[in-house]
Symmetry: C2
């Protein structure tokens, strides 16, 4: 037997791709640059990924599973749904604050849905999944009269839009670090708390 393809090397290339695509977009990112960042030769990239487009596809979709796991991990409604919603928002924002590079790339794809249709569709599907995940908690809080009666799908959609907007608008500069707590509090307002 000869040398095996190294999973660790594949992962290095993938992370380098996420970083490079995130900073430069698809067309302006070069395989040469990704290879350099990953510490492998130009040719080796093509040992692990068939072509540039496949690498991009993997860079967008593979980390999405973890994002889904975190975002869609919503607890069963308790008798304190407000507290549950607040904790959930906190968890979401904490996670996104750690994933700014990947999020950039996601926003890049969402911004060019026709061009990146193959990558966009699974991301768009996520909108529906988040609606279904959040609905019970929102309905419970509404039934208890703790938040106003907004359409749960609208709450979910605008919450997701807010997350995207915040991480698009405020993750570029260092001066925005430390504002995540504020963003968390404002995000809660989108659920329509009574005060």
């Amino acid at each position: 037997m000869a040398i095996q393809k190294s999973q660790e090397k594949r992962e290095r290339i993938l992370q380098a791709a996420i970083q490079t695509f995130s900073e430069n977009g698809y067309s302006n990112a070069t395989i040469k640059q990704i290879a350099k960042e990953a510490g492998v030769s130009f040719g080796t990239v093509f040992t692990y990924f068939e072509n540039k487009n496949d690498l991009f596809q993997a860079a967008v979709l593979e980390p999405l599973e973890e994002v889904k796991a975190v975002m869609l991990d919503v607890p069963e409604p308790s008798e304190q749904p407000i507290e549950q919603i607040k904790m959930l928002i906190k968890k979401h924002f904490q996670y996104f604050a750690e994933q700014t590079t990947y999020m950039r790339m996601i926003q890049y794809v969402i911004g060019q849905p026709e061009r990146f249709q193959k990558q966009f569709l699974p991301l768009d599907q996520f909108t529906i999944e988040l609606r279904d995940a959040l609905r019970p908690l929102i309905v419970k809080a509404q039934e208890k009269g703790e938040i106003i009666n907004l359409e749960p799908n609208d709450v979910s959609d605008t919450y997701l839009a807010f997350i995207n907007g915040v991480s698009l608008t405020f993750t570029d500069t260092v001066k925005n670090s430390g504002r995540w707590d504020t963003f968390t509090q404002h995000a809660f307002l989108l659920f329509g708390p009574k005060q």
Copy 2:
């Protein structure tokens, strides 16, 4: 003297550029494509813009003046600041609903601030200007006890983030047309109304 370079032709090229950059990003947009869309020859593009980067610069910055005019046109606080805020939000969202193509390109630039630094800085500056424009209205509503006492800068920033997020996340599909009214209502929640 022959006729002056036609201002109308320049505008056609600029609009074609906005459309093409918005759909394809900078590197994947070609002058050939922009020329075709504008109904001029390849070479003519270079009669009106020195090079591709200048065309991009113009496509991003020239329409920004109008955007600023609309967004920063905030009335003096009256004794019904809540109503003023609601009207303002409505105006903003109505405007953005008409400018989805341009907004796409703006979000593309914001997503790659290092790469497009020259275009990004004026956009970033806009964040500050919006803060200053909104502050009096927010403070007035807070003084009247009609909204909760959030930091006005945070309200302005999260509001802008929300606009960006909504127009990023929900302007791609036809199925989202007609939701602008909903988004307007949810945007108001970010100002912290008491209910």
